[in-house]
Symmetry: C2
Subunit: 302 residues, 2 copies
Amino acid sequence: MKVVELSGGVGGARMARGLTAVRDVDLTVVVNVGDDEEIHGLHVSADLDTVIYTLAGVEGPDGWGRSADTFVLNEELARFGVDNRFRLGDLDLALNLFRTQALAEGKPLSVITAEIADSFDLRADVVPATNDTLRTEVRIEGDEWLSFQEYFVLRGNRDEVKELRYPGSEAAHPAPGVLEAIGAADVVVIAPSNPPLSIWPILAINEIRQAIRSHQRVVAVSPLFGGKSLKGPADRVMASLGLPAGNAGVIEAYAGLIEMLVVDTQDADDARQLGGVEIMVTDTRIARATRARELAEEILAV
Amino acid sequence: MKVVELSGGVGGARMARGLTAVRDVDLTVVVNVGDDEEIHGLHVSADLDTVIYTLAGVEGPDGWGRSADTFVLNEELARFGVDNRFRLGDLDLALNLFRTQALAEGKPLSVITAEIADSFDLRADVVPATNDTLRTEVRIEGDEWLSFQEYFVLRGNRDEVKELRYPGSEAAHPAPGVLEAIGAADVVVIAPSNPPLSIWPILAINEIRQAIRSHQRVVAVSPLFGGKSLKGPADRVMASLGLPAGNAGVIEAYAGLIEMLVVDTQDADDARQLGGVEIMVTDTRIARATRARELAEEILAV
């Protein structure tokens, strides 16, 4: 069974871990690159790495970065007055150094990502949404535009998000293999990632949006639990962008694109009011790998 | 007393440590940049860092790199198939990442070097010979030209050196402060570094060569002990380039530039044959800081 997942960071990575654990699933994870950032001159692809580390079973305790990483280099940067609040571990920096150097040598991000995935012996294909430069930018109070990581990590995603934009998206083309994978997929799963911040930057690439729109079977997993995001600002961001509260907002975020929405049991009551798409109500807490696999099986069984 | 030292790596760093330990010495160390190399996309300035680390008392056990460094990042690079034989520790990489980023932002190497020296609270001024790109290249058997680090580190400096060149030297200007420091110096000390590999690249900058030639008091410390280099290929390189054996070769390497040569007690007999410059015979083994200071005092007392 061929499955494509559209993924942001931690939630998408856990969903991908569940999907690859299902027998006979051939998974391609199409990953958001709007969060990519130059940090200390290195090209950091936060979501790609979170997906790869999680599929490899070497993710950090909070879902991002590497497990058992050390921070020798990051700490030492303070000596030179470098802002080191974006904490990159030594193992994580090795990957970022490799990627930055490979990009400088002219290799496309998708080729580099495949090499990294191979180095961890992953079974799933992990593909950036695009090899072109596409960024997520956030407008906050006072008409200031921030890069995603400045908003999310450095300012702790506390600001109210007034507006989003995805510079580069109009000129961006899908990375090689993305449209083919979507075209061949039995089902497309939109991960329980933040819709505006993690999935819209993928859908901002017109050819991908069209391919998802044309696909017969697109299932989104809601990132909400009792109407709130587990961690992160998904509920707040959706509200401040004018989307309806709760899963009605998720459905509107994916209007015209999805055939089914999977919501958590905590939202069973709220789910009765929802319309326009099929609704599946189940336990969507997938921090544990076994539950992630079960959820994937339930979704693929429909 | 104002002193300028021309320095390569380990030997020059130890000489600098001795000179700064002398009362009332105001030291400027002008450091070779011919060994600089791009490694994993980072700008590595091996000699500058060896001098700074040694003056800060945080040099590695063999004189280069940082003491008590870890190699987490370097080891992990192997996962991605990266050639990691040029071993850079995590602390050392922090400095290299900072420098690379600062260069990319347009800061001159001399400014960055001063910031790094400040971050270690150094008393001496440490200055790259030039802010321009100047490299030492080595021709070996078979007419192959190698970068310095490829010859020295990766091939273990075992190849016979047929010829040297310093691409960039003709267009290179001294870094700000170099000519002023030489002009104001009571004495210029040429460190016991490898003359062709470490000092000639500094002297290949015409304005520096002229300033040294014009200076009244230039003292070179021989890198030879019983006619041989302690470590490294100085004796072999000088021989293969056609210089006389022993300290006669060192005098010829600095012909027209120096007023005095300091040779080790092991070369006392050989020293009687030498002519053209003053000769001082003393113990020049300066791995220990106390002996480095004593040697500096002896040189400055003359």
